[in-house]
Amino acid sequence: MTIIAFQGAIILGMIYAIMAVGVFISFRTLDIPDLTVDSSFVTGAAVSAVFCVAGHPWLALPAGFLASAVAGMVTAVLNTHLKIQPLLAGILVMLGLYSVNLRIMGNRANISLLNQPTIFQSLEGTPLADQAEWLIPLALLLLVIGLLYGFLKTRFGFILRGTGDNQQMVRALGVDTSKMILAGMALANGLVGLCGAVLAQYQSYCDISMGVGMVVIGLASVIIGEVIFGIRSLFRRLLAVVLGAIVYRIVIAFALNLGMPSTDLKLVSAIIVTLALSLPVLKAKYFLWQKRRKG
């Protein structure tokens, strides 16, 4: 693999890490399997593209975050107030959001940002202009992780984590868990949208189907991170998610480099996640098999 391809994988990894951290919030912190992600990712990207075309690439990021956060809140309300199972609630919002995303994009299936201003041009005229491609994602990632870590250490953050662990306990401590789920799902999808917003600008285009399988990729990153880097402390966990996202991108880059057609990407993602999820069972089966063989 060329150095350039390797660097590209790391940059993509840093961008996708923001989405993976969002998936970490819903799947791990809140313990809710949230499928909204596949569409809220596109919402962030679409809003970002529209803002870029209007000449506001930086404003595009908070706008993408907010729009996707709203999508997450809809899923949360379907779950907490209308008592629809989280999986189904996520699927419903994902489906509905597809039409909304198309509307945001002005009923086009894709938007090119090739001749539009993006955040990656903001360092032009400074000595760092050539480094913008990796400096900006890195800076954004550090900002997100720093803020999130601080947030999870606040009172609100404590209760949010407690809600994922044990809703019954949190209610017994006098907190409305529906509100916590609402806030948590907003945050999770907001991060996913932010990632979409940055990625659209990085690749200079936004496509209505760019979110397909995103939740699986996010989950793959989370699990790879957990397996390789551990889950000891909160900080370690966040770091693991980021590194997991980067490792995932490097693995994919290698596979592509070895001649895997890019159309097989989704299949490979699905297999990676299946393997990672079934690891504990496979391990147990293996030990049992060994025991039996020894007699």
Binding site: F158, G162, L173
Partner: protein, 266 residues
């Protein structure tokens, strides 16, 4: 003061599994009352506690806490005034968070939980001091995850969490039933100490008749979703476990007879 007035509660209303778990239950807990609750399995003890804490909606009836009608308050809102320890040690704590973080969440009860630090150093010192009172050595393991603790340690911690901010009513639902005898004894000791020192109004479900008589100042017996016995004062002081079992059997016998009669009628 906690007043329960004519509370009925039915599970699965209108379905084949319809079950009336509480039938027109009324009683009043005076401030500082420590009431033990006994009754056979399925007699509605847990349901009674759960309807006080707001887990289930009642069919009818009213619940007043210090003269405030809380009948329609959601569970989380009642929790500010109602402390709870469940039978299952897993239910009372967040397993993936540290002992200190769990206690900090309990300390926030009734306060704003905004973006201030989860634990200040002052709070940390206070929590450590409170934890040392349990006499379990947990104060040296503040940064350990609760998932590492034994059932007994968790119940002790949950008890402390439920009373860190003093509730108006403490509800204990067979909170030592899942523990080994030594841990159960320890947790009961702590219960007596914490309830006694703070004069907490307490409702404690137990399946241990001896405990029912030796703890608290009043004992109620439930059967088939109703209160069939309410012992207090001298009558209770003179009551023995044998006497209680006798009474219990008598009441059940009556019901058995009734069932037999119903069978005969068929």
């Amino acid at each position: 003061m906690l007043e329960i007035q004519h509370v009925s509660l039915t599970f699965g209303q209108g379905t084949i599994n319809e079950k009336q778990a509480l039938k027109n239950v009324s009683f009043t807990l005076k401030d500082g009352d420590f009431v033990t609750v006994i009754g056979s399995n399925g007699s509605g003890k847990s349901t009674l506690l759960n309807s006080i804490s707001g887990v289930y909606e009642m069919d009818c009836g009213r619940i007043f806490l210090d003269d405030v009608d809380i009948s329609f308050w959601p569970e989380y809102k009642r929790s500010r005034f109602v402390g709870r320890v469940f039978q299952d040690p897993l239910l009372g704590t967040a397993y993936a968070m540290t002992i200190e973080e769990n206690l900090a969440m309990a300390l926030m009860k009734g306060q704003q939980h905004g973006l201030q630090p989860g634990i200040s150093s002052k709070e940390s010192a206070y929590l450590k001091e409170q934890l040392s009172r349990l006499d379990l050595g947990l104060e040296d393991r503040m940064k350990d995850k609760v998932g590492l603790l034994s059932g007994g340690q968790r119940q002790a911690l949950t008890l402390l969490m439920a009373t860190l901010v003093m509730p108006k009513v403490l509800l204990l639902d067979e909170h030592t039933a899942a523990l080994d005898p030594a841990s159960a004894r320890k947790v009961m000791e702590l219960t007596r100490e914490i309830v006694g020192k703070n004069q907490l109004t307490t409702l404690m479900v137990t399946h241990n008749m001896q405990q029912a008589l030796s703890y608290g100042n009043r004992t109620i017996m439930m059967n088939e979703g109703g209160i069939i016995l309410d012992l207090e004062g001298e009558e209770r002081q003179n009551m023995t476990v044998e006497g209680l079992v006798e009474l219990f059997n008598q009441k059940n016998q009556g019901e058995k007879l009734e069932n037999d009669r119903m069978l005969l009628q068929l």
